[in-house]
Subunit: 262 residues, 2 copies
């Protein structure tokens, strides 16, 4: 029995930004595995697959479920929002397969056979940073860093060190997972750290629910980021020293980082 | 007359990774503007638009042509490979429109009227870094930086400063535009700078022509990057201190950066 395990990126929201290859894999799947809201985002499929929804933060368990299903011959699609390789399920799946391989020599459950019986593929998607950037212009037009502010899986000191290094070297910063009920103060601290290297007027794009019906984007200055409006479904794009913002004649604020660096 | 100016990301290569929204805008266009090879990549369209091909490095001139066509009421698609906001045409277009606005007060050619008469939109795409990552596993599973090694528009010292800062803070690095005939030594120097902060065995993915027929990917170690095989259509993904590589039972090398940071 040979199964297929596809880790599929849905892109940021609606079907307009979901790649044909992702849609094809979803349509071919016998099983969909993923965080509940992402499975809902998939929508109705012609040959409705079995749906295995799980809670957030259950990435490893979810990866094991998907591997088991593929080992039994399923065509399994592990569903991620955005790009599955950016703070999403691709890592968890590859990690679990590697763990299975390594455990084999220690009386494990046959990692090598699993790998050998599964065709693994990762289907990339449009990630939130570039989808958010597109809504406000071209803030990522120059070198940039992508940082998750979550300290659930890494020490907060590592986050701080990276923020300071990236801000000091004048990268544009894309901040994922900026805030949650368990992590209320980290975003404010992150903005303070960045502020040590940037003018208060530095443009910042705050983009929520990108690609979804509730989509909302605003360009503000670094000293007036509306922290109270920000949640886990928000991405922040903090400009570099050269990033500019301006208002179009129809009143829309645009933001871009020039291609030329002085 | 009201025109539309869509800056469209084709994604990394074939139609499987081109979003439906991008395809729709191409199909609706009266005019396509872009670098010749990217226009070729678009393929045949139902209502064949006029194609305005230009050489590489003509971004500003190309943006002006596109704006002019939209001002005359065209439905113009400016075509970029990958995501148009990542080292591509979105910045050039927004820059040119901003320039037009600013020149207005100085006897310029009516920037405000241009903006007011054009509907501008950026259609994001799958960028090369995440498409390349998907081919080899999940190297971008943790914080990462995206850096262009081209020093055509920025001083090389800025590139060096950013490489050292990103490597020092243990980011994964995605390197775009790694080498060209005019820039033969920069990649070697960049790898040396990164090597000051990383083990020689650090996994590096070298991915060329991602999503195209000639697609080629290899995972090597930092001290054995095949510089002679690398060109402008190559992306390099250099692991952090935690990035791991392993060989699957069917002989494929996979690379990932664990979600958990020690």
């Amino acid at each position: 029995v040979s199964g297929r395990l596809s880790v599929v990126g849905l892109g940021p929201g609606g079907e307009g930004l979901r790649t044909p290859l992702a849609s094809k894999r979803l349509a071919e799947a016998t099983d969909l595995v993923g965080y509940g809201p992402y499975l809902d985002q998939v929508g109705v499929l012609p040959a409705e697959p079995r749906r295995h929804a799980s809670d957030n933060r259950q990435e490893s368990a979810r990866a094991r479920v998907a591997i088991e299903l593929a080992c039994r011959g399923g065509r399994v699609a592990v569903v991620s929002s955005g790009d599955p390789g950016v703070f999403a399920m691709a890592t968890a799946v590859v990690e679990e397969l590697h763990r299975g391989l390594e455990e084999r020599g220690e009386g494990g459950d046959g990692g090598a056979e699993r790998w050998a019986s599964i065709e693994l593929e990762i289907i990339p998607g449009v990630t939130a940073a570039t989808a958010a950037a597109a809504l406000v212009g071209a803030p990522l037009g120059h070198d940039f860093c992508v940082i998750s502010l979550s300290d659930v899986l890494k020490p907060w000191e590592v986050v701080e060190g990276r923020l300071s290094a990236a801000a000091g070297a004048d990268f544009v910063l894309a901040l994922y997972n900026p805030i949650s009920s368990q992590r209320p103060w980290q975003l404010g601290r992150a903005l303070d750290l960045i502020g040590a290297h940037r003018r208060a007027s530095t443009p910042v794009a705050v983009v929520k629910d990108v690609g979804r019906p509730a989509e909302w984007a605003e360009v503000v200055s670094l000293d007036s980021v509306p922290v109270e409006k920000i949640d886990m479904r928000t991405v922040l794009l903090v400009g570099s020293s050269t990033t500019r913002a301006f208002v179009s004649p129809v009143g829309r604020v645009w933001m871009y980082t020039p291609r030329r660096y002085p």
